[in-house]
């Protein structure tokens, strides 16, 4: 019964735009980003929002192209929630949440615009780069989807791809991958989306929810936002029904917040890369 009272209190607070930690409904907690923290990768990042902490590593390998798309590279995203992240995730408990995060990240990056996959093609019809993107959660404190998407964009931004020289033709074709740390090129992340998840609480909604707040909500929407303010993907999840006018308001808010996050993230990443020493 105590939990029920607390739930009512949290929901009522959000409807009045006042949350338990003093934030407004559209305020994010402080987002901490660090890139190039994992040395054995092509690109990596660490993102922390409150108690949620996620590590992303990008490793590139040369593979054969997919016959249906002979001029494009590939990406493969994998999600892992460490058992230390949260007590409910020990054993097989993490499977559902991992699958859900993977589904959202795949949705965001399913569009051809997100990452220019033709840049990843080495030899048309033969070889291309496969980016193995691994997302690891070491702390779960609410708002895991947004943290994962921000960390992913940061990791891709920090990714350096080695140059490849092609010699010979046909069967005798040989690829030589350069070891030179200065002979690298960077991926273009201008069109990488960020996920803004809005949780419906009572008659209102909130972003960047804590675990407690997420348990009070009925239904949530993931909105993938591009820096230009376009919506790249949308998905409503959770058992709960939404009013269409409320949904349109949520999309408005998501676009506003998403564009703001993109701007600040881009500024931070740019500053980091210009001051980084190799």
């Amino acid at each position: 019964k105590q939990w029920y009272q607390r739930r009512v209190a949290i929901t009522a607070g959000i409807e009045d735009d006042f949350r338990t930690d003093g934030r407004s409904c559209e305020d994010y907690r402080q987002i901490e980003i660090e890139t190039r923290n994992l040395p054995n990768t092509n690109g990596s990042s660490r993102c922390r929002i409150g108690k949620t902490e996620v590590l992303v590593g990008v490793k590139a390998e040369v593979v054969d192209v997919d016959l249906h798309n002979p001029t494009r590279g590939k990406i493969n995203i994998a999600v892992d929630c460490s058992a230390t992240a949260s007590p409910q995730l020990a054993g097989r408990g993490s499977e559902t949440i991992e699958q859900e995060i993977l589904s959202v990240l795949n949705l965001l990056y399913s569009s051809i615009d997100a990452l220019n996959l033709t840049d990843l093609c080495i030899v048309k019809g033969e070889s291309c780069w496969l980016l193995n993107i691994d997302v690891l959660f070491v702390g779960c404190g609410g708002n895991i989807f947004d943290a994962a998407s921000v960390a992913l964009k940061a990791a891709l931004h920090s990714t350096t791809m080695p140059n490849v020289s092609v010699s010979g033709e046909g069967i005798e074709m040989e690829l030589e991958i350069s070891d030179d740390p200065y002979q690298v090129w960077k991926l273009s992340t201008a069109m990488c989306p960020i996920c803004v998840t809005l949780y419906q609480e009572g008659e209102s909604f909130a972003v960047d929810v804590t675990e407690e707040e997420s348990e009070c909500s009925e239904g949530y929407v993931h909105v993938g936002v591009l820096p230009s303010g376009e919506v790249s993907a949308m998905e409503k999840s959770g058992a709960g029904n939404m009013d269409p006018t409320a949904l349109l308001e949520m999309i408005d808010a998501a676009v506003r917040i998403g564009m703001d996050i993109h701007k600040q993230l881009d500024r931070h990443l740019h500053a980091e890369s210009t001051t980084a020493t190799l």
């Binding site: 239904g219 591009l226 790249s232 949308m234 409503k236 999840s237 058992a239 029904n241 009013d243």
Partner: protein
């Protein structure tokens, strides 16, 4: 059981619906829209199988599957990742309408099999699941009706696209967006929603509105068909 067609649903021509086709299931329905055919069956409420999962609210389990012969390429008999996500989506949508407090310590199994996929399968599956629940006499808040849209760069919208229209030359690789939405017509709420592909905010609004109208039209037709089927059952009771 009643056989009837419904015309006037713009997009892809009439929706053919037949309830009670699976005699062993408490509720079932067969849907056919163009070349997309699927069956939904509901078993329950029945005692919950795993006793540790005792709860004061009923539980809903859903399984969505494309038959191996449903699509152009072979679909493995085991559920793949995409089908698991669709199952979860349908489960969430149904949990939002079923009155779970009415059957504590019990579970409801929903099984949806797509016999032939010619586009718009997921939204049709959501509708079919809800009709099967009503056929099974499980108390629900409202009918769930789903529609799919294909949205193009030149602001053209196709309602309930066929497989070719959804994934063909006009696929996301050349622009536009795919969108499906499930709606509760009487409560005027959105139950489920998914959009892939890039669109602007104003276009998102247009998509939602068009989908809404299409869903409401479909809902009136389905309600009438359900009414007919109940009247028939009353006049000609089956054992």
């Amino acid at each position: 059981a009643v056989v009837s067609t419904q015309s006037g649903h713009y997009g892809r021509g009439p929706l053919y619906m037949k309830v009670g086709i699976i005699t062993k299931a408490q509720g079932s329905v067969y849907f056919e829209m163009g070349n997309t055919k699927l069956i939904a069956a509901v078993y329950g409420p029945k005692e919950i199988i795993r006793r540790e999962e005792f709860s004061l609210q009923g539980k809903v389990f859903c399984e969505f599957k494309f038959m191996p012969f449903a699509r152009k390429h072979y679909c493995e008999p085991r559920q793949n990742f995409e089908e698991k996500m669709i199952s979860k989506c349908i489960c969430d949508a149904m949990e939002g309408v079923i009155l779970l407090e009415k059957f504590p310590k019990a579970q409801v199994d929903i099984s949806i099999q797509v016999l032939q996929d010619d586009g718009s399968a997921i939204s049709l599956a959501l509708t079919a699941a809800s009709v099967a629940l009503i056929n099974a006499n499980i108390e629900v808040k409202d009918l769930v009706v789903g529609t799919t849209l294909r949205f193009f760069d030149n602001n053209e919208i196709l309602v309930d696209p066929t497989m070719e229209e959804e994934h063909g030359p006009f696929s996301r690789y050349t622009g536009g967006a795919g969108f499906y939405m499930a709606v509760l017509p009487s409560l005027t709420q959105i139950s489920s929603l998914k959009q892939t592909g890039k669109i602007e905010q104003s276009q998102a609004r247009d998509c939602i509105e068009t989908c809404w109208e299409a869903c409401l039209r479909l809902a009136t037709g389905i309600k009438k068909l359900l009414q007919n089927s109940i009247e028939d059952d009353v006049q000609r009771p089956d054992t």
